[in-house]
Chain length 269, copies 2
């Protein structure tokens, strides 16, 4: 079982990811594909006159402030355009894909955090009516049902709160907790960089391998959205996933390249 997470940043070649994944599946691998959609959501939000508002929490993590209107735009892009675009591409490659959000079958469940404390211009501020949260529980019944019958799940946020509200959750950490729950052999996290870089401006500074017992020391190299990817990797490795790879989704054969160690590899000790 391989969990592949493909991000939502600019430059990602979804057609290459889908074609490559289709080949892997033909070879007998089973996989769940998790995807994002942040860059496209920003674009559509701007066009709809509701520009994105990225906020930084007191603990230093960046996220999207998600009021109800933003949540619905988020769903349009993630669950509509992105999810169905990927399903269509996989179907063209002969994969019987089934696109789902974390709400469907309550796959990703967790608490909603309707108020968040952010830091803006150096000052703390509380934002309310936020539809964000985090995944605490994975309900695998639907995922297993699909995998056992030859379907390939294509999964995207939002998740669902215990009260039934849609919640925007971080896709990388959601993929990590899914990989843990599925006891996946590999979690492959694809984005628009070659992996974890010592210097974000210089792709030749790629960190090729991180000993899993030293992974916490490497959090410092992760900037912006990469921070949550590394946190997700730590969680996944701790929960029993054998290998996490950060790799490039802009190249040909992005999944098989990552499978053969191209990128930043974290192996369980």
């Amino acid at each position: 079982m391989i969990v592949v997470k493909v991000g939502g940043s600019l430059g990602i070649k979804y057609d290459l990811v889908c074609a490559d994944l289709a080949n892997l599946l033909k070879d007998g691998h089973k996989s769940v594909l998790v995807h994002g959609g942040s860059a496209e959501t920003n674009l559509i939000s701007e066009k709809l006159g509701k520009p994105p508002r990225m906020v930084t929490s007191v603990s230093g993590y960046e996220s999207r402030y998600t009021d109800r209107e933003t949540l619905e735009i988020f769903e349009m892009v993630y669950c509509g355009k992105m999810n169905k675009g990927i399903v269509e591409e996989l179907q063209k490659n002969g994969v019987n894909a089934v696109g789902l959000s974390g709400m469907d079958g309550r796959i990703w469940e967790g608490p909603r955090k309707s108020a968040i404390t952010i830091v803006e211009d150096g000052r703390k501020k509380v934002l309310r009516d936020d539809f964000t949260g985090k995944v605490e529980r994975v309900n695998l019944e639907l995922i297993h049902l699909l995998l056992d019958h030859g379907f390939t799940p294509v999964l995207t946020p939002p998740a669902i709160s215990y009260e039934g509200d849609a919640i925007n959750v971080d896709g990388d950490r959601a993929a990590a907790i899914l990989a843990s729950a599925l006891k996946a052999e590999k979690l492959i996290i694809l984005s628009n960089v070659p992996g974890l870089l010592r210097d974000l401006q210089d792709e030749t500074t790629l960190i090729r391998e991180i000993p899993s017992e030293q992974i916490e020391e490497y959090v410092g190299f992760a900037q912006g959205r990469m921070k949550k990817k590394v946190l997700g990797a730590i969680e996944a490795i701790r929960a029993g996933v054998k290998e996490v790879v950060f790799a490039d989704a802009r190249i040909a054969h992005p999944v098989t390249s990552a499978m053969t160690g191209r990128g930043t590899v974290i192996r369980r000790a």
Copy 2:
């Protein structure tokens, strides 16, 4: 088995539909909910600077011209905002809903018609690059899998072409062919009118019952989008569905009201 189709016109109360359907499911009924999203798609299309283009085919049916950009807006609204909004509402009502498009698991398959002949200003004209088509085949495997394991499918266009392209299809006719394939007892088609009216301007002219052998004679009363609903009903009744009801989705208990005969009822002879 009851197939409920709820339209996408203005005035429809999705919260009432979901609450009512949840109660029916608690009573042991099984159901697939099919939905549209036309009014919201028009709104979002306008906001995105890509106003809808409704065209009339040579045979007199109205449809949405769906180039690639329109298809993606269509998917955003139908599969994103509408589908996940309904899934969320059902989950809040204790229903373990799973939202799907007709592409997922290839539920709705059919030919794409990339060129259509329309009539505009009294003249014939061919439009190309259209992502529309019609459902010819229903693949029930995924639907049965979900129903057999306690999940409630929430299904919406697009369908998938034999070549793997997303195709915009008429939701009423797609619901009808689904009801036929499932050998449903009832197909309930909810919209923002009380049923089929003799005079579209006067809701007191509701046609309460149509003998199934006379249904073709009633096509004349159907105007605009109601035409395809009546065509769908004809197809469903012919294929073995026992009862089709056109009913109002703006009222409390819209589904149970339709179940007890409120609306226009067509019973198989």
